[in-house]
Amino acid sequence: MTMKPENQSLQSVNIEGPVCPTPLPHNDRIVLGHGSGGRMSHDLIARTFFAAFSNPALTARDDAARLLTSSGEQLAISTDSHVVSPLFFPGGDIGRLAVCGTVNDVAMLGAEPLWLTAGFILEEGLEIETLQRVVASMQAAAQEAGVQIVAGDTKVVQKGKADGLFITTTGIGVIRPGVNISGAGARSGDVVIISGPIGDHGIAVLQARGELGFDSDICSDTAPLNGLVSALLSANAAAVHVLRDPTRGGLATTLNEIARQSQVGILLEEDRIPVRPAVAAACEMLGFDPLYVANEGKLVAIVAPHAAQDVLDAMRSHAYGTEAAIIGRVEAGAPGQVLMKTAIGGTRVVDMLAGEMLPRIC
């Protein structure tokens, strides 16, 4: 089992408006900020879960756990719960999300995902037709990813105890030989690559919730990335030092995690970071920063400089990486810190998401 800070999507609860942005001063109860993927989540995991379950595979803090079998094979295993609301949104649904999320976590360790399990918590009153639609979507995603759903569980809870449907998936894959990818692998001089424009998923789901009243053609980017990972590894596996998918908390949070794990600095260039015009417009309107908006079909690759162009070309020739771009580099100075050269020329710190973004008037 791995512990990732992200265990909830933005729209996981049936109350109006975005969720708790910042830790509350008291820590005796779980609050929504604990699920945001930012600092609070990290704190909760470290203090409660790591402290109790402590073991090296867990505390490596990667998206999946790396396990060595007695026959010498390296496996990757990851688990993820999905509680998104609404269940269906432009570009995807909870089922597709559940499959892709776990497939991607396993793939981020350089492993080929093979099998998934799926646990369902169904709310009393959920329409069976809805469940069937979700399950069909899961099978389609699994087929696209080339994985099989081999075991599962179903529970039903009383009305009001689940948001329609919660899904937990666990995935197993085999780590390719010759691959040594982890969040601690970034080295000074490495190049930072993003596989495509950021912010699509978070904005699409926010729109689907309807509370902020905006409309657009933005679709979630939910996608299985194991094919893209294969493609970029075949360009030069040894040169790929880090892979991670910037989900909850966005690109900024993911890069901060990596900077900390690897004890390096990262310098980004703002005008190289791809953002779709409509996503940028939605963020402007609400006062959000796309760097913190969730993605479900993108990955960050941190690659040795001599291989960066080859890896980039390989990504661009794959359907899920056509807009891949180099967005920054790894530096030796300022370990654990992410900095960005702004479009205007000044530099600023890019922090981890503290809690949650809120639409603002300021």
Binding site: C20, L24, Q337
Partner: protein, 372 residues
């Protein structure tokens, strides 16, 4: 995005920086009094690319930061009442009150909702006739037209279950308070562009004249802010005390008459406590008595509120531009965005939060472009 991207152009920004550099002959202290401008300056690293000698000071321009503690505590109390749907702009939800913030109220089961517009709050009231809906009407002059219209709409729709908790503040009295305080080092002012979109800038020439301080109405994109600074520097260097408009695409001298009419119809002047600064006379707006039925303070009379600020927090001195966040002993240690002691750290527009998020460290970086 039209009217936005053009004003983020790096070359135009550079040109302005060079123009400023060429003009400046001595150090100057310029204050901006707008949270949005504070945010933009820090987010784009503008203070870093400006020539040395220009000190940008952040005034009390964040309505979230200056909302008096009493009003936050009142909001928390009202939101905790059973049957109330408490609606607010997102910014306000995690401002610490004496005891807790609105998010704690939600965690404890209160129905607290973020809205994008006060009209959304009116709609919620229409849709929930058996609940009391309260809207937290904060802001500077920019937000007053929207908040005022929500009251008129509620009246027009005959709603009995809608009320507003008003905490409006005005910029000109704050400028007077700052410029007349002993130890004031401010020599030039950037006026808030969107406040002036509503109010015009006819209120500023008397202020400029009284204190000998040039004022430039300034926008929010990085190029707009640099232009505002450039025009201010030109006035300072040539000893001209005037009011310039660097945001003419939206701001006119008179401002928006329809908006001012509605504001005057719904609101009237009052004294206001500015958190961290104190009472500034006639610096706020409250509902006119004829709208008392929509006044949440009337509908929800709260017994004596005991407010309590953490002693470490020097937000007041920061809001007056007397100290920088770095100079606060609690900055970054006991006071961070995760554990804010004061409002300037909570609000994303607050100076402390801005400095913490964007400029915690300054580094020497090589200027080579990134390439494979």
């Amino acid at each position: 995005m039209k009217f936005t991207t053009e004003f983020r152009d790096a070359k135009l920004a550079q040109g302005l920086v060079e123009a400023i550099r060429r003009k400046i002959t001595r150090p100057w202290v310029i204050m901006e009094i707008c949270g949005g401008q504070t945010h933009a300056i820090l987010r784009y690293g503008l203070d870093e690319i400006l020539p040395p000698g220009i000190e940008l000071v952040h005034g009390p321009g964040c309505p979230v930061c200056v909302t008096p503690l009493e009003q936050i505590d009142r909001a928390v109390w009202i939101a905790s009442q059973p049957g109330v749907i408490f609606t607010s702009f997102g910014d306000m939800l995690r401002v610490p009150g004496s005891d807790k913030d609105l998010f704690s109220v939600r965690a404890a089961g209160g129905d607290v909702r973020v809205v994008y517009s006060p009209l959304d709050a009116v709609r919620i009231a229409q849709q929930n006739p058996d609940r009391q809906v309260v809207f937290f009407a904060v802001g500077f002059e920019t937000t007053a037209p929207a908040n005022a219209m929500s009251v008129l709409q509620a009246q027009a729709l005959g709603l009995r279950n809608f009320s507003v908790l008003v905490s409006h503040v005005r910029v000109p009295p704050a400028m007077h308070a700052i410029l007349s305080s002993p130890g004031c080092r401010v020599q030039g002012f950037l006026a808030a562009g969107h406040v002036c979109t509503v109010m015009g800038y006819h209120e500023y020439p008397p202020i400029a004249g009284q204190y000998g301080t040039p004022i430039t109405v300034t926008g929010f994109e990085p190029v707009d802010i640099l232009r505002g600074i450039q025009l201010t520097i030109e006035m300072l260097e040539s000893g001209r005390v005037q009011v310039a408009n660097a945001y003419p695409r939206v701001v006119t001298f008179e401002g928006s008459r329809p908006a001012q009419d509605v504001i005057r119809r719904v609101f009237t002047g009052c004294d206001r406590q500015w958190r961290g600064i104190g009472m500034i006379p006639d610096s706020g707006w409250k509902l006119r008595p004829e709208f008392a039925e929509f006044d949440a303070e009337v509908r929800f009379p709260v017994s004596e509120i005991q407010t309590r600020e953490p002693e470490d927090c020097i937000a007041g001195q920061i809001l007056q531009g007397l100290k920088k966040p770095f100079q606060c002993p609690a900055f970054g240690t006991r006071c961070t965005p995760e554990h804010p002691l004061g409002a300037t750290m909570v609000s994303s527009e607050g100076a402390c939060a801005g400095y913490y998020r964007y400029h915690r460290d300054r580094h020497n970086l090589t200027e080579e472009p990134v390439s494979a």
